[in-house]
Amino acid sequence: MKTSSDELVRLQKVILGDSLKIPNGVLEVLKSDIKGVLNSYFELKEESLKPEIEIDEEGLYHIKISAICTAVKKVKAL
């Protein structure tokens, strides 16, 4: 059964999460790092790489990365 004290904890967590902004710079650095990795496997479409970070009600971070590529690079295996 749901109790108001559980509810209060959840509420405090979501509000904390909403106010816990990830610094702008971090997202940019992350983006260029991921781009570097993906670029060695795919021909990435310009500006298509989008990392998103969200915080859920349990206070956990969800990291989603989406990108569009025009071709797969031939990767030499050794």
Binding site: K2, S4, L8, L11, V14, I15, D18, E57
Partner: protein, 258 residues
Amino acid sequence: MSRVIVITSGKGGVGKTTVSANLALSLAAKGKKVVAVEGDIGLNNLDVVLGVEDKVVYDAGEVAMGKATVMQALVPINDRLSLFPATTGALNIVTADIFVDIIKELKKSFDYVLIDSPAGIEDNFHRAAMGAEEGLLVTTPHIPAVRDGYKTVKVLASYGITKVGLVINRVRGEYVADKMMLSPDEVAKVMQIPLYGILPEDDFVNLYGIADVKNKRSGIGYSYSLLASYVDGSDKKLYDCVSQYGGFIGKFRRWLNI
């Protein structure tokens, strides 16, 4: 001195229009001159809740186009309460600047200008917030509503509206007593704004939009009267939604379902 208060929320459907209409009626019953402004332009229903949807002659759009004056557009509800209706035409006619001018004009003739606004995250919120000096944040005691309400308090602050009171609507006293629902105090503490009013869940309001003030057994009329006193500063009492459900007598009453 006249006061301009925007009534808003984080989420839609928590009771902004209901609170606007009933607070306006309660303040008027206390002798104040009040105008309720339909700031949720386009999605108008304050006129319906106040029962005057067929009495609107000129709307905000016609005032904006100079076809009618602000005073001509007012729809009287009773001796002390009037409605300023939304536009039924194109929304973009009533710009934020025009809306601010309308509010300035209304301020001259009323003690209270209450603006029923869209939720803080919606587009038309800008216009309503531009015209206001103070805010009332309406929420229900549920996490999603409180969460978005909290964000809306920040949005209000970005418009320079820092005097904001909290109104918690649709409180179920029996659930609060059983510790199944967040209590108004808990919500207020998290929101970090002063609690101005507690309004119980009420079937009559759900059906008719307006609180049945003659029904003494329903706490809703009294809770609105307390909210009006809190807003005008004459009394700082909060509605007690819990005590009637607590203790032995409360349990017995609940068992009998009265």
